[in-house]
């Protein structure tokens, strides 16, 4: 008898195709786990039991009728509640959109639907994707499956928590300054922020038009790559999408890293880093050397400036997006989100345009310093052990300057540069919470990052650990 909780996404796909388990059995198991975990984890906003059961029965019927199964046929997924589905409330984690029902569906959800995946719930997130912790005053704080006192990270908090606890087989999140990678690292799962333009944002509530990326979180590298293969590609509804992604993302997953040059940065990423995290990061570089990679030092330039420019773009674009609500319903934002959006109204237009125009220049400098010296760069992602909810309760504006930059420092510049970044599980700190790192590559080098990440996880097996309460 196949145990649904022990399957990963790829295993669930195989089990359904080979009739070892039905989509209905898998879905009922996921719904049961979601519902029992919800009171403690609070990772979902809306569990759609009836729809999920109906869709699972339809998936089983299609298979029984001989219809060719899609790449993710019958597998239960759930996604961050800022991806629109026609006719379903999409709260975006906010009070303002508590009753918002879009009349169209996000391209990424349509592509997952076409691949046969099931969408069983909307997942908790920070308000308007605007905080790196997982706190949410409107729908309750999401919690880390490894310890309910600790943050899951944000803003894709529910996506990471649900995947880590084994409640669904994968989830989409969004990443404007680390919002996929950060919760993936803090919950011990895999998360991909794709190249700018690789995945459509159509039908996703934006934070920042220029920095937003939609990507998958899953239990391991292969599962992440499988989801990416379904969602990526040009979309006429998102004019920012590009046709740079070529070829399979899974074909070379097991090719290893022998002969590859892995860059390790000498600057920027180590500020605020604890000694414990420094040791763990060093151990990751040792693993790559041991499995045949050549580890080389690289010095990415100007990342403090890059982070500042990203800050300006994010602030101004978010302020623009929120302008109407901000003037009419300012009291309906939490103090933190209100204070952060407010900053965007106070940058001159010239500074914003300079920040946009400088992207090509900074990508060029980054490319020369990094991509001319290595195939991919391994970098820290979170400089401190996973903090508790109490330690990071950023209820007011005064905490913005201290808490947010520490958590987002390593992720933020990457969105400005537009390059892909894969977060992978890389161990545990002494408090028993996960530790993760990120792999950065050239634009559209997702396949290589998956290959490198797979080589690491095959060697170390951190991705196989499960939170004790969710075995």
């Amino acid at each position: 008898m196949t145990n649904p909780a022990e399957l990963d996404l790829a295993g669930a796909v195989d089990a359904i195709r080979s009739r070892k388990i039905s989509a209905l059995e898998l879905t009922e198991a996921c719904l049961s786990r979601l519902e029992s975990a919800q009171p403690l984890l609070n990772c979902a906003i809306n569990i759609q039991r009836e729809k999920a059961i109906r869709d699972a029965k339809a998936a089983d019927a299609a298979l029984a009728a001989g219809k060719p199964p899609g790449a993710l046929h019958g597998v239960p997924l759930a996604h961050k509640d800022l991806l629109y589905r026609a006719g379903r409330v999409s709260t975006c984690g906010s009070k303002i959109r508590r009753d918002f029902v879009p009349d169209y569906t996000a391209t990424v959800l349509e592509r997952l639907d076409a691949a046969g995946a099931l969408d069983v719930a909307t997942l908790n997130m920070t308000e308007f994707a605007y905080s790196p912790t997982g706190h949410n005053v409107h729908y309750g704080d999401c919690r880390n499956p490894w310890s309910p006192q600790h943050i899951p990270g944000g803003s894709s908090s529910g996506s990471a928590a649900a995947v880590a606890a084994g409640l669904v087989y994968g989830a989409l999140g969004s990443d404007t300054a680390g919002s996929i990678r950060l919760p993936a690292a803090l919950c011990g799962v895999t998360g991909m922020k794709p190249t700018f333009g690789r995945v459509s944002r159509y039908g996703a509530m934006p934070v920042s038009f220029s920095l937003d990326a939609i990507g998958p979180l899953a239990r391991n590298v292969r599962d992440c790559a499988l989801m990416m293969e379904v969602i990526d590609g040009v979309d006429p509804n998102d004019p920012a999408t590009l046709d740079g992604g070529v070829g399979s993302l899974t074909a070379n997953l097991e090719a290893g890293v022998r002969g590859l040059r892995i860059g390790v940065p000498t600057t920027y990423f180590y500020e605020s880093m604890t000694e414990e995290v420094r040791r763990l990061f060093s151990a990751v570089t040792d693993v790559f050397e041991n499995i045949g990679a050549q580890v080389v030092e690289v010095a990415p330039p100007d990342l403090d400036e890059v982070a500042a420019l990203a800050n300006i773009i994010l602030a101004v674009e978010a302020a623009t997006i929120h302008s109407e609500w901000f003037h009419a319903r300012a009291q309906d934002y939490s103090p933190l989100v209100r204070a952060r959006i407010e900053l965007g109204y106070h940058h001159p237009g010239t500074r914003y345009l300079e920040a946009l125009n400088l992207r090509a220049h900074h990508l060029d400098r980054f490319g020369k310093a990094v991509f001319e010296k290595c195939d991919a760069m391994l970098a820290p992602l979170v400089p401190i052990p996973v903090p508790t909810l109490a330690e990071t309760d950023i209820g007011g504006p005064s905490a913005i300057a201290s808490t947010v930059p520490v958590l987002t420092r390593c992720g933020r510049p990457i969105n400005y540069l537009g390059v892909p970044s894969l977060a992978i599980a890389a161990g545990f700190t002494a408090n028993g919470l996960p530790f993760g790192v990120q792999l950065l590559g050239r634009p559209f080098a997702e396949a290589l990052l998956f290959r490198i990440g797979r080589a690491y996880e095959r060697e170390c097996g951190w991705h196989l650990r499960r939170p004790p309460a969710y075995h």
Partner: protein, 66 residues
């Protein structure tokens, strides 16, 4: 920097009255924006936008995986 000094912040912040921002909050905003603005000024001063399109998409393609 002069336009961002705390004592002139409220006058400078064009949106301040519209958003009902207090002088105390205006000063807070200035403190948060100043370091970012310093970096942005430094970054902008290193590049002259003249005669060459600063196209991020072209740069993405230039550095993309082959």
């Amino acid at each position: 920097m002069s336009e961002l000094k705390p004592d002139t912040a409220k006058a400078w912040l064009r949106e301040a009255q519209d958003l009902d921002i207090s002088r105390e909050r205006a000063n807070e905003i200035v403190k948060l924006i100043n370091p970012v603005a310093d970096f942005a000024r430094k970054a902008a001063s290193a590049v002259r936008f003249d005669g060459e399109p600063a196209n991020f998409i072209l740069a993405l393609r230039k550095w993309s995986a082959k």
